[in-house]
Symmetry: C2
Subunit: 283 residues, 2 copies
DNA sequence: TATTATTACGTTAGGCGTAAAGATT
DNA sequence: AATCTTTACGCCTAACGTAATAATA
């Protein structure tokens, strides 16, 4: 019977041209590879080599055998990956969200409810999330609007309200509320990895430029050492210490005050329980 | 790395349900198969089994692994067949003919010209022959009319003229020639394996019935012990002793007097030389 | 008690590398 | 002389089977 380890040597011979070179590359001795070629020949049952006294090369059939060997090795490698990804899928819960805030409470809940599983999450566009939950690419999705499918459960879990943090010296500092239109044109600090908020700000404030900070440290430094407006929400924690010289002013646009919807396949009762905990944290 | 022999054991376990049964079927000991399952698990790098104290079964991932193993084993088997058929193709010359007579002289010529190769032949319909020569399924074809392709060489090699062998007591016994129409309605003896002739007779003599003999012995017995007409041609040998009480009368229909055309890929010069020998046997 | 998986252990076959030979450039 | 394949040979691993263990139905 064919042996993948031996086929690897055959392919190496085809790639390197001589048995010696192939043996060297594979860190095995020349006699070993000689023997292996014979084994392969008997495994295939037909001659694969044209042998001279001190040279050996592939004949036509041999070249065909090398092709087959290559595809067989590729198939084997792929098989391992398939099985490994199958295992991973069975032992991880993947949640895709359109914004980070819902994940802050969702992920700890999942971790304690399913301690044997790996919890992983990803920020995605809403269409992607619906597609992935429907096709079992991920188990849980967080959207901004109810899911339009009847094979999915959909539960409103929390609201997030955007505010702008404006320097006390600013002209708008004492307003009770603002709109995107009011602050359109102001250049603002922004974190990266905030999901749909990035896109929303760019849409609603087309005249503004955004200084997107990937590093958390850089963002914090800029908040403390500049007068550039930044944003916070009712769900954000750890901002209060940063904004002692700023006023927090709610943004009243409806798009800035969102409800998050938890979606998952209706069959996944375990996750629906989690969603209900999120919706009513007193439970 | 994966090992096909081990995967075979995995599949056997999946098929037979228990390690003991699988071991028995494979004629190996239980400890061996236990070890093999562990090897496979480490080769895939993920758990494949749910183990109880004295039971073991495939988990979800394991079932997936079995699927992969099956297709890998099938691929390996197929690879061997591919290579073997490649070898066969390189060491046999296949000639497809619409009638047996041209093969009687062609095959011996091929055998002596290519003693290292296996010569094999087949009777086929003309369309099949053209397709097969064009697609390298066979090397040589024998047709009744020139090949309509310009990548093929086409050489007229011989003619065959059909005659009917009629009992001396028959009403037509003294005719110098006959047509299919004349003998239409007579029930005739026919050999099998005579290529296009069978179909031609049925077309031209729709009112006749044909007693097709697969066995050579049966055909000869019937020729000698019946008055049923049979056929011969200028290329047939070994008929003369059989038909001492019959007259041989040529059939004049154009379809009964055919020219055979030798075809092969233009690139196959070796075979063209053979065709020329057939066309002019004095060479 | 019969069946099944696993562990322990001793034996052996086979696979590998070293060394040497044969052949070619 | 250098390079390459093949053969010969000895070592040693690792694979197998037997026997024993543990657990279950």
């Amino acid at each position: 019977m064919l042996n993948l380890l031996e086929l690897e040597q055959l392919v190496a011979f085809a790639d390197w041209g001589t048995l010696s070179k192939a043996a060297e590359e594979l860190h095995i001795s020349q006699p070993t590879i000689t023997r292996t070629m014979k084994n392969i020949e008997t495994a295939f049952g037909v001659p694969l080599f044209a042998r001279g006294k001190n040279k050996i090369e592939l004949n036509e059939t041999g070249k065909r055998a090398v092709e087959q060997a290559r595809s067989l090795l590729a198939a084997a490698e792929n098989a391992v990956l398939q099985v490994q990804s199958c295992h991973a899928r069975l032992h991880t819960i993947l949640a895709e969200s359109c914004a980070p805030a819902p994940l802050w409470s969702l992920l700890p809940l999942l971790s304690s409810a399913f301690p044997e599983k790996t919890i992983s999450s990803k920020l995605c566009r809403q269409e992607t999330i619906i597609k992935d939950v429907s096709s079992d690419v991920c188990e849980i999705g967080i959207l901004l609007s109810p899911a339009p499918s009847d094979e999915l459960s959909c539960i409103p879990i929390m609201q997030e309200n955007l505010s702008v943090c404006i320097s006390r010296t600013d002209e708008f500092a004492n307003r009770k509320s603002l709109t995107f239109a009011d602050i359109n044109g102001f250049n603002c600090l922004l974190r990266s990895q905030i999901g749909f908020w990035t896109e929303l700000c760019r849409q609603k404030m087309p005249a503004s430029k955004f200084l997107v900070q990937t590093e958390d440290f850089a963002f914090q430094e800029l908040v403390q050492n500049s007068n550039l407006p930044c944003f916070t929400t009712n769900l954000a924690s750890g901002m209060s210490s940063l904004i002692q010289n700023r006023n927090v002013i709610p943004i009243t646009d409806p798009e800035a005050n969102v409800t998050y919807y938890f979606i998952c396949k209706k069959s996944r009762k375990q996750y629906i329980a989690i969603a209900n905990q999120l919706a009513d944290p007193t439970n």
